[in-house]
């Protein structure tokens, strides 16, 4: 399956991955091969097979509605790039 430079750039943008000038060309080949590999699955006839929604258990286990904190705010903020008054601080994002 052929993958265009435009598709590579779009996927990179959606995934917030920066690619170098000229890299897209090389990636069209690599991604194309991966797509070919995945396309093999398309050869299976699944017309009589129910879509699979999970592979571990058939039904979702549930939790009770009990509010419980096992960690502190400091635990949560420990990985923050920056923090202020209990908030995560990130580069300005305004819509």
């Amino acid at each position: 399956m052929s993958v265009t430079v435009d598709t590579v750039c779009k996927v990179a943008r959606l995934a917030r991955i920066h690619i170098q000038e000229g890299e897209a060309e090389r990636l069209t080949g690599e991604l194309g091969q991966i797509m070919d590999w995945i396309d093999v699955l398309g050869r299976c006839d699944t017309s009589n097979v129910e879509p699979l929604a999970g592979i571990t258990v058939d039904e979702m286990p549930m939790r009770r509605d009990e509010a419980l904190m096992n960690n502190s705010r400091d635990d949560i903020l420990a990985n923050a790039p920056a923090q202020d008054e209990g908030y995560f601080v990130v580069p300005k994002v305004v819509e």
């Binding site: 779009k10 943008r13 959606l14 917030r16 929604a53 999970g54 592979i55 571990t56 258990v57 058939d58 039904e59 979702m60 286990p61 549930m62 939790r63 009770r64 509605d65 009990e66 509010a67 419980l68 904190m69 096992n70 960690n71 705010r73 635990d75 949560i76 903020l77 990985n79 920056a82 202020d84 008054e85 209990g86 908030y87 995560f88 601080v89 990130v90 580069p91 300005k92 994002v93 305004v94 819509e95």
Partner: protein, 488 residues
């Protein structure tokens, strides 16, 4: 079914408005949808965030059974089909208040299917607005952009709280209908106890889809106005957006499908900065979550605990308690009002109770900017007071005094009447004495009455009431006066 279409008169003819709403309602629960973090409003930033909500590596979501039950309950409340098998999908996008990098939602297999909500139109008729689906999903955190010029602050307390997204069909044709639908939906959610409906706290917000078309034509291209947080703003946003679209079409342009924001300060909508691929969410089934299965027995058990909903309650108030349509609507719109009324009506006739609540009580609460829950006068007090009127112990006029005293100082109505000597005088002897005195001192008016000007009896009644400080029973006064004057 009646139609109520707001027509926009353009220069080239008329247009009609088509509206559909996506309402996000925060599920009332103790803990979040997939974690045990508490959901209380107004907590210190990032104090209600577990490792799951912060999406730390290796954390897995486990669904909260009450959130599932609340969605089912809401579905039953709008007569919707409940899907016993549903599934969660990942909606992928990047934003700092979404630590997972995706929102867990239900695009393909929502837990609730088609239902409907009845709304009342301005002419008193009703219309059915169809609901397409309700699905469960996670809320995002909150970004604050004005604390610092160069950075944004992020609070993840809301991240992972359960939302129900309630999606209507494009069945509304005017700002009024959209407002009525949103109000009705909020009322139903509050009756059900599945969402507190507090739009000012963000626990209910609407994305509004608006398009216009020439009557009879297919649907036009729509614009989506995001995150509108009051009924009034929804109506303003629709009115403005529809006019904007008509102007574009009439000047030869075409509508571009886009996401817009409503600015409450100007009453206008404006385009959000949009990238061409902003909406490429790359949905796929969430591999962390097996299918969500509820049993018919569970659904039936929830159905067995359904409260009386606003439409049923209103019907009962009108048919069994004899209230007017209007009073019943006003009382039933809010569950707290309806409960207050039912409490009052335990002590007093329903119609009288309704009059006092929608009149004097609502008036006083409005003026003092209090909610019914904050009323200084309890339902028991008001009920007992109205009971005194009904028993003939006090007049309606005196009752207003008692009302004022209870509002200011509290107290038991019967005691207030007793202590302040406000009881209505039904003692015919005492009233007769006043009447005799009056007849003796007003020969001219007596003569006028005798000459056939019987309407002057109103003057006599007024004088007796004045003389007795408003405490004489007006019925008895009338009766005695008539008897005495006719005997002369």
């Amino acid at each position: 079914m009646s139609q109520e279409t707001t027509i926009i008169e353009g220069d080239t003819g008329i247009f009609e408005i088509v509206v559909g709403l996506e309402v996000h309602a925060q599920v009332l629960s103790q803990a979040k949808l997939f974690s045990s973090a508490p959901t209380a409003f107004g907590a210190a930033p990032n104090s209600q965030v577990t490792l799951v909500d912060a999406a730390l590596p290796g954390m897995l979501p486990v669904i909260n059974e009450v959130c599932v039950a609340q969605a089912v309950r809401t579905g039953l409340g709008i007569n919707a089909e409940i899907n016993l098998w549903s599934r969660f999908d990942r909606k992928n996008y990047f934003y700092p208040d979404l630590p997972q990098g995706y929102q867990i939602s239900q695009l393909y297999h929502p837990i609730v299917g088609e239902g409907s909500v009845e709304i009342e139109l301005e002419d008193g008729s009703s219309k059915t607005i169809r609901v397409e689906r309700i699905h469960l999903e996670q809320d995002a955190g909150k970004s604050i952009h004005d604390l610092d010029p160069r950075s944004s602050h992020v609070d993840l307390n809301r991240s992972g709280i359960a939302l129900m997204e309630i999606v209507s069909f494009p069945d509304m044709r005017s700002p009024h209908e959209a407002g009525a639908y949103l109000s009705k939906l909020r009322s139903i959610l509050r009756y059900l106890g599945t969402c507190d409906g507090n739009m000012d706290q963000g626990s209910m917000r609407a994305d509004v889809n608006v398009s216009v078309r020439r009557p009879g034509e297919g649907l036009g291209t729509r614009c989506e106005i995001k995150n509108v947080n009051s009924v009034r703003f929804v109506q303003q946003a629709i009115a403005h957006e529809a006019r904007r679209q008509v102007e574009i079409i009439e000047s030869g342009g075409s509508i571009k499908q886009e996401t817009r924001l409503f600015d409450p300060d100007t009453g206008e909508t404006r385009a959000m900065r949009s990238k061409e691929d902003a909406h490429d969410y790359r949905y796929f089934p969430d591999p962390d979550l097996p299918p969500l299965v509820v049993t018919q027995e569970q659904v039936d058990a929830i159905r067995a605990t359904m409260p009386e909903l606003p439409d049923q309650k209103k019907k009962r108030f009108v048919e069994e308690l004899g209230l007017t349509d209007y009073d019943a609507s006003v009382l039933c719109a809010d569950r707290a009002n309806a409960s207050f009324f039912e409490e009052v009506a335990k002590f007093a006739p329903a119609k009288l109770a309704a009059n006092w609540i929608t009149g004097d009580l609502f008036g006083a609460l409005n003026k003092a900017e209090l909610s019914i829950a904050e009323s200084p006068i309890s339902a028991t007090q008001l009920g007992q007071m109205i009971g005194l009127i009904d028993d003939g112990k006090i007049s309606g006029k005196i009752a207003k005094q008692v009302f004022e005293i209870m509002w200011q100082e509290g107290g038991v109505p019967a005691d207030i009447v007793e202590e302040r000597g406000l009881a209505q005088v039904s003692d015919t002897g005492a009233i007769e004495a006043v009447i005799d005195q009056l007849i003796a001192t007003s020969p001219e008016n007596v003569a006028a009455y005798k000459s056939g000007k019987t309407k002057i009896i109103g003057w006599f009644v007024g004088q007796v009431m004045k003389e007795t400080g408003g405490k004489a029973n007006p019925g008895i006064v009338n009766q005695l006066l008539k008897a005495k004057l006719d005997q002369l």
